[in-house]
Amino acid sequence: MKALRATWTLFAKECRLEFRTRELLTATVVFSLIIIVFFSFAFDPTPAESRRYGPGLLWIAFFFAGSLMVNPSFAREQINDTLDALRMAPVPSFAVLSAKILANLLFLSIAEAILVPVFSVFYNVSLVGIVGRLILVLVLGTVGLVITGTVFSAISAHARMRELLLPVLLLPFLTPVLIAAVSTTISLFGDARELDRTWVTFLAGFDIVFLAASWILSDFLAEG
């Protein structure tokens, strides 16, 4: 209970910090929009091509923007030594980590909620009848992204060139999530508009495995 309360308090702090300026959220949405628009300049897709390649574009935009968004999670704690303060606080290290994971999940989900309708308008992809299942896929994929992204943010916070290092560490790691999320989204956008259960299970499995690994290794992250 104490850990849950600590997580909630820290999560509320992260939200308060972000919603005061909304700079991270704004930058993430704008960056993703740029990728989505640039894709149309680079490829000029037909409606059929949009349905076929659109899911890949959408997820690449989320992954690139997400990997930039999670970077400040721990990097900004180095200013004024707030990271040391968090370490010395009588809260479990996993509470600190999970608060940041939840905060990143919230911010990225807000960005996705804005971007998916925009994408469907720009690329003429209908979301009618698949919204619920699409949300499930988005949530599972985003959870995988923010769990590993937040952990790697903690790792790279102490390294030189951290802004470049984090995407280098994170993006190859997320390849299975990208493949699974894109495959599921393609089958949702396709003519059959069905949910591929194998990939959904794979995504859920990935999230569980790496959440467990984060929980087990959180003390070492705090010490680093």
Partner: protein
């Protein structure tokens, strides 16, 4: 290490005879004929890679549990040698793929996952280069090393989950269709390549161990220089006595 010379000669002999056996003694394969012989180098390279990366992951965990420097040094040695074997495996795979499939590369599940694994361990090595504090470097790279190793089962899983152009496994999980002579040659090449990997791993570990000693020497020299530069203890501030040695 005097035993290294006969061992090195033994492995060199195995490597030579393994290569000779693979190229000239093993029987011709029914569908791919000559080019199939790359199998005798390609598969042992993957085995050597898996072993090296397993040693690296085990060492990462052992470091996190015990904090003994040996394990940190072994972790980086294993990762680097694993990347080396992975590079060899990817190149031999391409040299196999071009005559058989007509293309150097295809983004099928197994090749993609293996390339991702290569990228992951390159980033592990990059991470180690970019963290300066030794203790922090050891701890954080150990955490990342454990995460990266968890990707290995996903590589193996990928051949069953995804459709793939890659030849189906012959020895493990596939139909038992290997000829006896082929099996003997394959085992010989396996022993040779894994043997070479172990020797290189030992040398790479030695290099890390020497670097560690070098760092310790530098720290000792610096601390002696700092001690020598401190003001003599007899110099006192007027009106205030310095505490005697050994008192609070």
């Amino acid at each position: 290490m005097k035993a290294r010379i006969p061992i090195t000669l033994l492995v060199a002999a195995l490597v030579f005879f393994g290569g000779f056996a693979g190229l000239f003694i093993a029987p011709d394969e029914a569908t791919m004929h000559e080019i199939q012989r790359i199998f005798y180098f390609h598969v042992p390279l993957w085995t050597a890679m898996t072993l090296a990366l397993s040693i690296s992951c085990f060492s990462c965990i052992a470091w996190l549990v015990s904090r003994r420097a040996t394990f940190d040094l072994l972790a980086v040695a294993g990762a680097e040698v694993g990347v080396l074997c992975c590079t060899g495996g990817l190149i031999t795979g391409m040299l196999w793929g071009k005559p058989v499939w007509g293309i150097w590369w295809t983004w099928d599940a197994r090749l993609t996952s293996t390339f991702v694994l290569w990228l992951l361990y390159i980033s592990y090595l990059l991470l180690r280069e970019l963290i300066e504090d030794p203790h922090r470097r050891a701890t954080l790279s150990a955490v990342f090393g454990v995460f990266a190793y968890l990707d290995l089962p996903i590589v193996l899983l990928s051949t069953t989950l995804w459709r793939t152009q890659h030849p189906q496994p012959v020895l493990f999980g596939g139909p038992k269709s290997i000829n006896h002579t082929m099996l003997m040659v394959f085992l010989l090449c396996m022993v040779a390549i894994v043997g070479v990997m172990i020797l290189i791993l030992i040398d790479r570990y030695r290099l890390e161990r020497l670097r560690f000693e070098l760092d310790e020497l530098r720290v000792e020299i610096e601390s002696r220089e700092m001690d020598a530069q401190q003001l003599p203890a007899k110099q006192a501030v007027p009106g205030k006595e310095l505490p005697a040695k050994g008192t609070a």
